[in-house]
Assembly symmetry: C2
Homo-oligomer: 500 residues x 2
């Protein structure tokens, strides 16, 4: 420990406490706030954001980081990792000139607003100049960050969401999957056609009963309601802070099955946050490693565990009891078919586990091309539709079902998309490794006991915080850096083998 | 407008946005937060507090205020008033040395914690040294602020809650009331004895029905649920921000009458905040004037309007309808007697309108004596019990029902108590003036129409923000500075005249 490093810990503790405050306010905005509070709230959040930015870019900060780095040999490995993450945060905050940050903020605000009208109207031309401006300025930002971080422009953007993410590695993994998936999807659909079609249990399912069940399922996974809540919002998410997690969902009274799986997904995110190293609260090294591992934790709980035959077998009688369900639609076999249904579709957020990577690979290819300057925004709709046809064999009839569907680019979030599929791949690797290390995990899951799985995840993933890189976490836990083989094995086992 | 003043407006806008954020987080702490979130929350609030304090005490701030004051002739009256309030905030923040602020924070934290055990145990000796330390340090703070603000030490403390409050004025008003009340109370109790005792409607009254009714009553007063919410908390309060007001209450399923009046009280606070001048959001001059006027607005709605015969006459059938009430307990006459019941009691927060001022006058006398150095903390219990006997004719059997009952002193809030009764007096003045200006107000209230009253209050009180002093607001609205005569007239009319 050195004086400079100690001062840095104090500054980051306050900085991150302000960010935590913003996190709680964001939850409130989505869950509690009446519409008339929006303007005041945006002033509050802007003040927090500007204040945190000033604290990070304060002239003393760079000096302190430099001094602490010179005395690095007096830090332990966690402190050294914390310092590395401080440097990363400082570089991102200082790399880009203030006028460019401001221009980009204005451009994304305008673009997002126009997109909200352009999407339902399926009118790409309407939003095209706004998106072009966002891409133009984002490329400038990427260049500035690339120089500061000594990365390629795209990797500098990726680093904002997935620290040390490497597009050469992603390229290889995604090319492998892009080769595997089209043929595999044909096989899955043929196999699925030989099975009975799943039935949807008939409602209504009152919201209060769904909420009670959702809470019970969260507790089953390990969620502690002394450290969190479940509420309702338009778009489900997991917010709050590690010691006070705010999970949300939405309910459809005619179908409970999707809300339950949504809650389990968000609970996976929550368990990651909850298990972050307590010693390092509000320090950079105490945060989640990145969006790929974050998504891996939600998908591990949802896709690997809860849609698997063991947990579905456990859930079927729980569902029957909760809603007094009777008949074939309530059998474990039917729920298994329902929860593993595969189909080609246009909309990413509705896609199943098998087709989802195709949606992500398409976006990844397009956004890397836009950042390189190889794809003009004007050519995006055509490139989208071609890519969709190549990867999934379907062509969107309009841009609403095509390149206008996601908010990300219009909101300035270029470099985010690949983390979804990196997360799916990591989830398969981690679950496979967990079951290899602790072979009783599937049996426990079949009894509704998540404790052995959670214990393994806490040790190998959650408790690591941002101490290691994503690849280092994966290598230590599974023996390999990000690698699609376990994901492919998982898909084949789940979607091509007949149920026991 | 000048450059220095303009810069000040920007700085205070951000500062107050951070304070608004803290306000929402405080609401969340009381209403939403699971217990396990407390530690993280206190880090968030401390970071906001320290950050706001740094912004206010930044060396540039004093220079900017000084420069803006030199160019005051280029400001309009609202800007000039805003600058005056900025100077006040800056003086309060900079008058006290940082080590004294810190010592006081530690002392109040310790004292409050011990008080939480000492009160139920009725053990004053246990908390005495802690309170003595709080009073000792508060006197030091009062001296420092007195010098900076050019006020007496007590008035410097009072200024924190009631800007420009003047203890000579309060002394005169309170002495007048202290002379009036004991004899008046005897008359009221004798008069009350000649009337039938009120009956309490018999429940149970389900919480959901009470909540629905409470919301309906809030809307009747003028509360707009696009700009606020009603929730449940252990201690009712009105929090949030002017465009997003968070009212809370608590329910007793065996008695709905007190929750309803509690909600109406908090709605009075909320209407004040909601009516603050919109042009001046997040500027010092756009804030509520002080705690006396704030309390006047809750008491005007609760005591002057809603416990008055017109509104009770309107409410009785609304209550009957909401709970399907039948019988004599549900008559307007009975509700009137119930809502104006008077009695001598030990606990301030349970006191009625007639005896409440005695509780406050006692505390005011004791706290001014402690700040002057005329009353040692060790002598507090004796002085309390003597004063209680002199003012109300009863002697607390123990300190739990005596000087240990309120958190205020143990929490360091000396200088706050008088604002309760200043508010009650101002409420009577304002209501009397409103009915003189708009004689149809009581008739409208009898129909459940609060609009004419609210319109008058918006113009004469709410919309004034902190532009004028409390006495100036009262003088402009009622023709007189704070004056107990209207309050006495109100008490005589309500408690000595027979109902129509």
């Amino acid at each position: 420990m050195t004086a400079a490093y100690h001062e840095l810990e104090q500054r980051f503790a306050r900085l991150n406490a302000l960010r935590e405050a913003a996190g709680v306010l964001n939850w409130d905005s989505s869950v509690m706030m009446p519409s008339g509070g929006a303007e005041a709230r945006s002033e509050q959040l802007a003040a927090l954001d500007v204040t945190a930015h000033h604290m990070l870019t304060d002239t003393a900060m760079g000096d302190l980081i430099g001094r602490a780095e010179q005395e690095r040999d007096r830090l332990d490995v966690w402190q050294a990792a914390n310092l590395r993450e401080m440097r990363r945060a400082w570089l991102h905050a200082t790399a880009v000139p203030a006028d460019l940050v401001e221009a980009l903020t204005r451009a994304t605000k305008a673009s997002e607003m126009v997109w909200r009208d352009a999407r339902p109207a399926s009118d790409f031309a309407m939003v095209r100049p706004y998106l072009a401006e966002v891409v133009r300025l984002t490329r400038q930002m990427a260049d500035a960050k690339a120089e500061a971080l000594d990365k390629t422009p795209y990797d500098a953007l990726l680093d904002q969401f997935e620290p040390d993410g490497d597009s050469r590695e992603i390229q290889g993994v995604f090319d492998d999957l892009a080769q595997f998936l089209p043929g595999f999807l044909d096989d899955v659909l043929a196999h699925q056609d030989r099975q009975p079609a799943p039935m949807t249990p008939e409602g209504p399912f009152p919201e209060a009963a769904q909420t009670a069940l959702a809470k019970r399922l969260m507790e089953t996974v390990g969620f502690d309601f002394n450290h969190g809540r479940l509420d309702t919002s338009l778009h489900p998410f997991c917010g709050g802070v590690p010691d006070d997690l705010r999970v949300t969902t939405r309910y459809d009274e005619s179908d409970f099955t999707s809300a339950m799986m949504g809650v389990l997904h968000e609970t996976g995110h929550a368990m990651y946050e909850r298990g972050l190293p307590e010693r390092w609260r509000r320090q950079p090294v105490g945060e989640a490693r990145g969006m790929a591992l974050h998504e891996s934790q939600s998908l591990l709980v949802e896709m690997q565990a809860c849609r698997g035959p063991e947990v579905v077998g456990y859930l079927a009688p729980v569902f029957r009891e909760a809603f007094n369900g009777r008949g074939d639609a309530w059998s474990a076999d039917n729920f298994r078919r329902l929860y593993t249904r595969v189909g080609r579709s246009f909309i990413r957020v509705d896609a199943d586990e098998v087709t989802y990577p195709a949606h992500v690979i398409l976006r990844y290819r397009l956004e890397t091309a836009m950042i390189r300057g190889d794809l003009a925004v004007a050519d995006l709709p055509g490139a989208w539709n071609e890519g969709m046809h190549a990867l999934l064999g379907i062509t969107p009839p309009n841009d609403r079902l095509g390149c206008l569907q996601d908010i990300h680019w219009f909101d300035g979030a270029l470099g985010y998309f690949p983390t979804y599929t990196m997360g799916a791949i990591a989830a398969a690797q981690l679950y496979e490794a967990a079951c290899r290390d602790v072979p009783t995990i599937p049996g426990h899951l079949g009894q509704g006991d998540f404790a052995p799985l959670l214990t393994w995840l806490r040790e190998h993933v959650h408790g690591q915080g941002a101490h290691l890189s994503t690849d280092e976490v994966l290598a230590q836990a599974t023996g390999r850096a990000l690698d699609p083989e376990a994901f492919k094995r998982h898909l084949k086992r789940r979607y091509l083998q007949d149920a026991a």
